[in-house]
Structure formats: C-alpha cells, structure tokens
C-alpha cells in the first residue's frame, strides 16, 4: 500500500483528509482528535454514547429538556476537519485571504472563552445560555469578527452605493436608498452565505442553540468582505461584492425593488425639469364601461409623444399606472460597463471621469 493508505489505517474511526495542503503532514489519530476538539464548539465526540441503541435509550429516559439531539451541526460528525474546510473555502471563493484573518472573520465573540465558565454537558446551560460572553481582556475583541464586520459592512455599502449611483443616473435619492436596502438585505446575505458554505464554518456558541440566526451569519459574511478588503485591497473586495451581492438583482423586477409614490406628480415635475411638453393623459381603449368590471387603457402623452400605457379598472387608476410605467422606464435607464470611480487606486475626481456624453443625453431624455 502507498504511504497515504498507511495513514488511513491508524484507527477504526480515523479519518485522513487528502487536500493538497495536508498531504505532506503525518497527522495521527490523536492529533486529529485534538483538531476536532479545538475546532468544534460543541459537545466533544468522545462524550457521546458510542452505541446508537444506548444513546437512544438514554435520550428516551431523559425525555424532557435535551433538544440538542434534534440538531446536529455538521462539525459534530467524524468526517470533519476544520483546517481542510477552511482552505477549501478559500479556494471556493477564489480569494487568498490570510488564514488568521479568515479564522477571525469566522469567529463570533460568543465562541471566545466559552469553556472557562460554562460546562457544556450541564442541562441548565443549554436552556438558559444567552451566549453573551464576557470580555475578559482587550485581546478578545481582536480575535472575534466584531471589528471586521463593521469594516466589511461599510465597504460593501460603499461599493453598492457607488454601483447604484453610477449605473442608474436617473434615480432619485429615496430610490437609491431602496436599491441599497435591497442589496444589503440580511436575509439575502444569509442566503449567499449558505450558498458559499459559510454557515458550517462559523465558530459560535449561539449557533449551536439556534442554527438559524440571521444576524450572526450575515455578520460573518460582512466580516469576510472586510477580511478580503484588508488583505487583498478594495478592488478585490469590490469584485467579490459584484459577484455575490449585486447579482441578487438578476431575475427581479425593477418595480419590486423601488417604490414610486405620487407618480403623476413626479412625472409632471420631471417633464417640467426636462423642458418637455406638459403631461397629458388620453384614453386609448376602453371596454365594459357599464359593467361591474370595466377596463380602461390610458396613455401618458407629452405633446404627441406617447410615453407609456397603463390599464386599470377606473380612468384614474389607469392614468396612475401609465405614469408609473413611464417613470419606471425612465429610472431603469442604465449605463452598462460604466467606469466606476473606484476602478483606480487613486480615486479620480468627478471631472476627470470620461463618459460618453452623447450616450448620457440620449438616455437622460425621457
């Protein structure tokens, strides 16, 4: 048998990982157990009853209280090596963050000093564990992801804002807020985190009690962006945000993301600002005026130019719908592949950004 095969035969339950990182290492069974116990913030594997039947019997005897058996984190299984998972995760997102920083980003502060004052096998702690760890020294803060989260969140928000601002020049400020809130949605971040396999890697005490904790998982996602920002620079962080945060927009209707209030008033104001002829709504088609379900189709005109059509059960509603449609067409106009200010290491002044002026003017007109 080859060398790798010998490593495997160390113990009955032994597991040897084969990623290229640890191929050269000669980890034995004891080392492996140590890694597991360090990495996994849960009841150690050794403390579980070995025999499944025994375990079932003991759990049925203590019918009250022990809810933890229902949820078994992936890290509690025997085939789990935290180091290997970390390196695989880095290859998966194709970012070579330093390992220390990545560990920091994946560590929630509830994980630190968890073994000092809490005995995990005590049932009372399962039920009453709030998971809020007391900080014992300043160093603890540096080990957890608290600081990275703030950096990552704000960097992400910066990139998203820049993208929305440059790509959609016609948007009003409130709509920019709507877009940013859509991209920076915490549930969306949790979705992406699961998609990248982050959730299994998080080291947190709270997640053991409640595996679905939006705040913690999204914080870790932000912290990873912060880690990329710190180690690889803002350009890499931006491409990460573009590839994972900004793609949430695809397959979504623009009208679902931004809210348009008072469409008639807004369209009138915009037409006036653009020095176009004033808004005029004309009835294009109608059906069943005398019935319970009439339908009207109203066109929003500026002079003789038809801006859009809208349908509704009354003329007023149809007019409103037509104006909303016209506004949506206006706001949706975008610059694809527009140069972003953060493309360069030295941020350009706004006057120095070269845009195709003819293109802007053509898309600016409604």
């Amino acid at each position: 048998m080859a060398g790798i095969f010998k490593l495997i035969q160390v113990g009955r339950c032994s597991v040897q990982l084969l990623t290229c990182k640890s191929l050269g290492s000669t980890a034995n069974y004891n080392n492996f157990q140590n890694i597991i116990n360090k990495a996994v913030p849960c009841r150690s594997l050794a403390s579980r009853p070995i025999h499944k039947r025994l375990r079932k019997r003991s759990s049925s005897d203590q019918s009250s209280g022990d809810n933890l058996d229902k949820f078994k984190p992936r890290s509690a299984y025997a085939n789990w090596n935290y180091d290997a998972e970390l390196s695989a995760f880095m290859k998966r997102i194709q970012q070579n963050v330093s390992e220390d920083r990545l560990r920091m980003a994946l560590t929630h502060h509830s994980f630190l000093h968890q073994n000092d004052d809490v005995n995990y096998m005590d049932d009372n702690d399962y039920n009453t564990g709030t998971g809020v760890a007391d900080f014992k020294s300043v160093e603890d803060v540096y080990q957890s992801n608290d600081r990275l989260t703030i950096l990552g969140y704000n960097a992400m928000r910066h990139f998203v804002t820049e993208y929305v601002y440059v790509r959609y020049p016609n948007l009003k400020s409130s709509h920019i807020y709507d877009m940013i809130n859509f991209f920076m949605n915490r549930d969306g971040m949790v979705n992406i985190a699961h998609y990248l396999g982050i959730a299994d890697l998080i080291r947190s005490k709270i997640l053991l009690y409640n595996p679905v904790k939006t705040r913690i998982i999204s914080d870790v996602f932000c912290a990873i962006v912060g880690a990329i920002y710190m180690d690889l620079g803002p350009i890499e962080a931006r491409s990460f945000v573009q590839d994972f945060i900004l793609v949430q927009q695809y397959g979504r209707e623009f009208s679902d993301i931004i809210k348009i209030e008072h469409p008639i008033f807004m369209l009138t104001a915009i037409l006036k600002m653009q020095r176009m002829q004033p808004l005029e709504a004309r009835l294009l088609r109608e059906s069943g005026r005398a019935t319970h379900f009439p339908t009207y189709v109203v066109g929003a005109f500026s002079g003789s130019k038809l801006l859009s059509e809208g349908a509704g059960p009354s003329i007023k509603a149809a007019k409103s719908a037509a104006c909303q449609e016209a506004l949506l067409n206006y706001f949706q106009k975008e610059f694809r592949n527009a140069p972003l200010p953060s493309d360069h290491d030295n941020y350009l002044a706004e006057e120095e950004i070269k845009l195709d002026v003819a293109k802007i003017e053509s898309s600016n007109s409604i």
């Binding site: 084969l18 695809y250 294009l284």
Partner: protein, 136 residues
C-alpha cells in the same frame, strides 16, 4: 416545484464560478473484495483529484466488513450516497467526476419545457388581446 430551486441557482450563475460539490467521503473496507476498486482508486487517483479540485474536501473513511460507498455533499445542503460495490477503478473515477460536475439538485421530472414565474406567458386576459396594436 423543481424549477423554483433552479431559479435560485441561476441568480448566482452571473457571478464567478462556484463548484457545487463541497465535500466527498470515500468509505471503503480494508479486506472486502467489493471494495477492491475503491482501494485502487484511493491509492492512485484520489490524491490527483484532491489536488486538481482544492475546493472539494476529500475524506477517506474505513468501514470494515461493509460494501464501499461514496457520499457527496453539495452546497445546497443536499447529499448523495452512491454505492460503488464491485466497481472498477475507472468506473469509480467516472462516478466521482459525475458528482463533481453535478449541481446537487434532486432530480425531478421536468413536466414542461419552459419555466415562467407567472402562470400564463400571455398574461391575464384583457378585452384588447385580439385587437391589433395601435401606434398613436
């Protein structure tokens, strides 16, 4: 129902490529004849596979006196267990490559060739559907 999951995934296809296979566990018996192919695979091919696909964690686990199997875990939370009983090394290699290329979505019969979020492509019927479009 299958198409619902597909739409979630296509959202991310726009970004960078993510291999959907997360980790793979090779379970073999040291002595059994049915595990012979898997033992050969572990000796010769598994290291290559791990080096070429660093985003996949490969675990090897002995399972005495049982038939060999491969368990693949995917990013969408699903896992697939494949029995590789009595398979040769090349066949197992094919199986592993197949797992690496698959998305982990549970296979379902697609009853229709198209997908839409709204129940009708044409939209809700209006009295003006049959009328020719008028350009004002």
């Amino acid at each position: 129902m299958a198409s619902t999951r597909l739409t979630v995934l296509t959202q991310f296809v726009k970004g960078r490529y993510i291999c959907q296979l997360q980790r793979i566990t090779l379970r073999y018996c040291n002595k059994g004849g049915s595990s012979r192919g898997l033992r050969e695979y572990i000796n010769s091919n598994a290291v290559d596979f791990a080096q070429k696909n660093p985003q996949v964690v490969v675990y090897v686990r002995p399972r005495p006196y049982r038939h060999p199997s491969i368990i693949a875990e995917f990013l969408n939370g699903k896992h697939k267990a494949i029995s590789v009983k009595n398979l040769s090394r090349a066949e197992i290699n094919n199986k592993v490559e197949q797992l690496r290329n698959s998305s982990g979505i549970t296979r379902k019969k697609m009853k229709r060739w198209w997908h839409t979020d709204s129940p009708s492509i044409q939209g809700v019927w209006t009295p003006f559907d049959s009328l020719p479009y008028k350009n004002y």
